[in-house]
Symmetry: C2
Subunit: 347 residues, 2 copies
């Protein structure tokens, strides 16, 4: 058997073009940048993800300029460092947004924007652009985000003066919600990555293939996605013999059918969904991701599954006898998870 | 909008029947048991997963009978407790298999069987049946397995006498391999679940819907699957704009395309695959699961993607210019991951 490098073939026709076309079909004007998305351009330095050499967790800085000079954060004023094309690599927590909620290892972070003419409160809806879109890219791809706390941040968690590098976090989820001021804000859930995580080596997104690692540790890299199982999800998966309630696929492996139990209203704060069979669907991994990310939603009255971007019907939710699914959880998902104002960014 | 319990509809036609038919098409004789798979039958007590009340981690027992009486393990002699229909809930590590490798938090566990007439070495190939199949069910579904160590186990990790309950482990992966005696054995990788995991409540698989939990902690339940990201996987995902190299799907979400970087030869021991672009594919979650579980394989010469169970062609691996995929990793996957002797259990 021949080994060695496989020559590339021409069977791959770019997926991005199909997506651009889909956006154009939806009425968006899509302009392709000169360089490939996600690659450094002449308009800015590439984002660096992970710890920065010589600046361990706990490093202190007099001001934002010092943070910037160390390479920990791209800006002097903006809270979010990064670009939509390659993700956010750092944020600053310094008490600027009243909706910020800081528990140390868990942070509920407010997106940027929505403040006209230097207001210190929300005057209009935030949009999924710039730093907010960069944080979403970090969530989707599991990129590590450096957290820098300033002296105006949460008491007991923030430095007495200046700024402190507090290590790497991952963006677990985001959603949008009305602020106490009225207009919509984006909220990002960040969770601390253990400091002994082997993904400490900084990296940037490059055109050239990265060198990689010939013998990495098992738990290599940052977590992009975790699927859990409980007695409740197990029961629902067994009820459907692992068949996806949305697309009907059974992922048959040599050792059984693989499926996942999806909580329609997410567990834990801030959504506080229940781990009960009335809140769980049996899905294939693809449909699970689409549901979690709000790309599809279920109509609470007809159980039609709808593509959120196009509004088109994907199918009908399959429901087995004895599965007491509760429509109020479906309604919650439609309202809070699958209702992102992307099609009308200003709405 | 109406809320409340959604009445079940009749649009669901059992997925299991389709699978049974597929097996029958493949020439298997499939006999449906009187009761539903995964439910307790009159032929045995249901398996109980998780910690057992009154027997905390570290509990000591004089002998296997005492372990059984406590409800920690189903058998007095067999090492694996559980049934293929509902998973393995406990194992004993007591030095009975020379291929067992015990590091405490990480265990490489040998399957049962393959020893004719009470031999203490492997005389024939182990089969994916009984306890071995039960452990695979625990892997697929993320069920917690109690580990009980006996005094003949690894030095420094085992009790001086009798048996000790050492907490919950998850089955991360399994594979089959030649034993030092010659015949094939199954090997299971188990990893310790932190003791403060909220999934401590014992549960069994029941016909009735479980009560569940109205306000569970966020990190509820055991881990069924973790997807990680590295600079290397990120680069490959960007190269394909997130489009699956096997099925061609782009999972478009309101915030970007979701895809996963799959290591063809798995990372970490015992496979020791490289985190290099030559070992990584850009896949959708469904194809990623099928590849990881060995349900599909790629022909190292033609790059045809093949269904391992049927041998039929699924498609051709899409390969972009500049992606130096290395055929030796594909070959490794075909030989070690996607070569489970299920079709000929005695082979």
């Amino acid at each position: 058997m021949q080994h060695g490098r496989i020559p590339s073939n021409d069977q791959f026709s770019g997926g991005l073009n199909a997506i651009v076309k889909r956006f154009e079909d939806l009425g968006f004007a899509v302009e392709r940048k000169a360089s490939t998305a996600g690659r450094p351009t002449s308009t800015g330095k590439p984002s660096i993800f992970g710890h920065i050499p010589d600046y361990p967790v706990g490093s202190l800085f007099d001001d934002r300029m010092a943070v910037k000079s160390a390479g920990l954060h791209r800006h002097e004023v903006d809270e979010i460092s990064g670009r939509p094309s390659d993700g956010a690599d750092a944020i600053v927590l310094n008490g600027g947004y009243r909706e910020d909620f800081d528990e140390g290892d868990y942070v509920l972070y407010t997106g940027q924007g929505g403040r006209k003419n230097g207001a210190t409160h929300q005057t209009e809806d935030q949009t999924l652009t710039r730093g907010n879109l960069a944080l979403v890219k970090s969530e989707t791809d599991g990129l590590p985000v450096r957290v820098i706390r300033g002296h105006r941040g949460a008491e007991g968690l923030s430095p007495a003066s200046g700024y402190r590098y507090d290590g790497l976090y991952r963006v677990e989820r985001h959603f949008h919600q009305r602020s106490t001021d009225g207009p919509f804000i984006y909220r990002f859930e960040l969770r601390h990555i253990e400091d002994d995580d082997p993904s400490v080596k900084p990296f940037s997104v490059t055109d050239e293939p990265p060198d990689g690692d010939e013998a990495p540790a098992r738990a290599h890299g940052t977590t992009q996605r975790i699927v859990r199982n409980t007695q409740v999800t197990q029961w629902v998966k067994d009820l459907y013999d692992g068949r996806c309630q949305i697309c009907g696929v059974s992922l048959l492996t040599p050792t059984g059918v693989y499926s996942e139990g999806a909580h329609v209203r997410p567990l834990g704060r801030p959504h506080d969904g229940a781990d009960m069979v009335s809140n769980v669907l049996c899905l294939c991994p693809n449909c699970h991701v689409l549901l979690d990310k709000g790309a599809i939603r279920v109509d609470p009255e007809t159980f039609m599954v709808l593509d959120v971007l196009t509004g088109s019907e994907v199918g009908v939710l399959r429901l087995a006898a004895g599965h007491p699914l509760d429509a109020k959880f479906i309604d919650y998902h439609s309202t809070h998870i699958a209702d992102q104002p992307m099609r009308q960014p200003g709405a």
